[in-house]
Amino acid sequence: MTILVIAEHNNSLLAPVTLNTVAAATRIGHDIHVLVAGQGAGAVTQAAASIPGVSKVLVADNAAYAHQLPENIAPLVASLVIEQHSIYSHVLAAATSNGKNILPRVAAQLDVDQISEIISVQSPDTFKRPIYAGNAIATVQSDAAVKVITVRATGFDPVAAEGGAAIVEPVETVCNAGTSSFVDEVLAKSDRPDLSAAKIVVSGGRGMQNGDNFKHLYALADKLGAGVGASRAAVDAGFVANDMQVGQTGKIVAPALYIAVGISGAIQHLAGMKDSKVIVAINKDEEAPIFQVADYGLVADLFEAVPELERLV
C-alpha cells in the first residue's frame, strides 16, 4: 500500500499545505511518494525530499506541466497509477483551487469516485468529510482499487518540513493534451500572512461599507501579524478581491484567533471559519448569528471598536 501525494507548488516553492496532505497520508499508511509535476522545480523537489516520512519523490519536469494545467497533469497522474503496476492504493492532493481542479479529472480517468475534502481518516478506506456547508459530517467508505482523495488542510496538523531524505526519481512521461493553454495570472501581492496559514485572521463583511474602510482591518492585522479575509457579501460588493473570501466555497480557515468584523454570520461563512480556536465577533447588530459561534462578542460600531482595538493590542 503506497500513497501518492501530489505536491502543491508554483515551481519555486513547495506550498506548506503539502505538509498537511502528507500528514493525512501518514494516517493511511507508511509508504508515501510525492509527485512534483512542474517545470524547473528543483527547489520544490528538494523541499519535498526533505519531508520526513516521504520515501520517494517523482519529478515530472516539462513545459506542459509548468502551469498545472489539469488536461496535462491528470493523465500524468493516472498513467503513474496505472504504470506503476498498481502499487498506489491512494492518490491525495490538497483541497486547494489547484487540487480541486486536477484531482476529479484523475478520478474520472481511473473510473473511481473521488472523496472530497476529508477532515479525518478513520481507516485506510473510511474517511470523514463535511457536507451541507459543514452542517453535517459524512463518514464515507470506498471500495475503489485506488482511492482518490482531496484533503482539507485544517483537518490535519502539518508534518515537519525537514528531516527526511527521500530518493528522487525522474518521470519521463509527457502528457500534452493540446486542448488548453495558459494565458496569464494575476496574483495578489501582500506582505501579510497567507490566509490559510495565518495564526490570526481578521475578516470584514458588508458592515465595512466599502473597500477603503478595509484599511482599518489592515492596520489591525499588521499590528497582530494577521491575515485578512472577507465574507462573500464583501467580495460580491467589490470591497476586496475574491481570493480573500472565507466560506463554504471560498477559503477554509482554522486559525488560533478569528476576528469577524461587520460580518452577520451566514451559514456559508461559518462553514469556512467555525473550526477556528477562538472566535471574536464585532457587530453592531446584537442579533447577528455570528454571535452564536463567537467566544467573545462585542456589540459595537466597528468604526470605533476596530481603531481602539488596534491601539490596545
Binding site: 489539469p70 488536461e71 483551487s97 480541486k100 486536477i102 484531482l103 476529479p104 479529472r105 478520478a107 474520472a108 469516485d113 473521488q114 472523496i115 472530497s116 463535511p130 457536507i131 451541507y132 456547508a133 452542517n135 453535517a136 459530517i137 459524512a138 463518514t139 464515507v140 467508505q141 470506498s142 471500495d143 493534451a177 486542448t179 488548453s180 494565458v183 496569464d184 495570472e185 494575476v186 496574483l187 495578489a188 462573500r232 467580495v235 475574491n242 481570493d243 466555497t249 484567533l257 451559514i267 456559508q268 477562538v278 472566535i279 471574536v280 446584537e286 454571535f291 452564536q292 459561534v293 463567537a294 467573545y296 462578542g297 462585542l298 456589540v299 481602539e308 482595538l309 490596545l312 493590542v313
Partner: protein, 249 residues
Amino acid sequence: MKVLAAVKRVVDYNVKVRVKADGSGVDLANVKMAMNPFCEIAVEEAVRLKEQGIASEVVVVSVGSTGAQEQLRTALALGADRAILVETDDGLGSLAVAKLLKAVVDKEQPQLVILGKQAIDSDNNQTGQMLAALSGYGQGTFASHVEIREGKVTVTREIDGGAQTVSLRLPAIVTTDLRLNEPRYASLPNIMKAKKKPLETVTPQALGVSITSTCKTVSVQAPAARSAGIKVKSVAELVEKLKNEAKVI
C-alpha cells in the same frame, strides 16, 4: 453554436439542514428545494451567450428525481430553449452524474457545457472536471469571466492566490464561480412561456450508462456544536480576555 447548462436540485441555500437521528442522512422532508446557486449562474451565462448572438440554442439538463423538473422549468423561464431530465434517484455520486452528462453531450454535441463549480449539498466540486476528463475536453473551472472567440473560449478563473486566465479549444467545459454574473429573476410571462417549452425525460438505461459507485456513505452526523461564548462590554475587556483568558495575543 449549442450551449448545454447542467442544473442540480438541492436544498435551498437559506435552509439549515438537520441530521436525522438514525444517522442515515439529513432530513429533507418538507424542506424547501431550489436550483443550486452555482447552476443558476451557469444558466444565466448560457442565456447571455444566446442574447449576445454567440449561442444559437441553450439546452438545460438535470440528473435527478422527477422533482428536478421544477428546476428545469425555472431554467426554461430564465431563457433556456429546451430541457432534458435524466431521471434517477437523488444522491448519485459525481462520477455517475458525469457519465450521464457525457452521454447527453455525445447526443447533443454542444460546443460549450457550463456547470456550477459545486453543489451546496454534497460540496463535492467534481462533476465538471470529471465530465471534461470523460469527454477529453479542456476545462475552465471556477470561472469569473468567459469569452468566446474563433473556436476558443478564454476563461478567467478564481484561484487561491488571485486570478488565472486559460484558453481552451472548443468544445470545452466551464464551471462557474460566484462572480461570473448575477442571475436574473424569471418574469411572470416567461414562467408561463416556460411551461410550453419542451422537456424530455430519459433514463440511465436508455443512455447505456451504469450508475454504480465505488463509494458509500456509512453514516451522517451533526458536527460538534460550538456554543456561544460571552459578550464583552468594551474593547478593553475584549483585549484583556484575549490576552489573559484565551491567551491568543
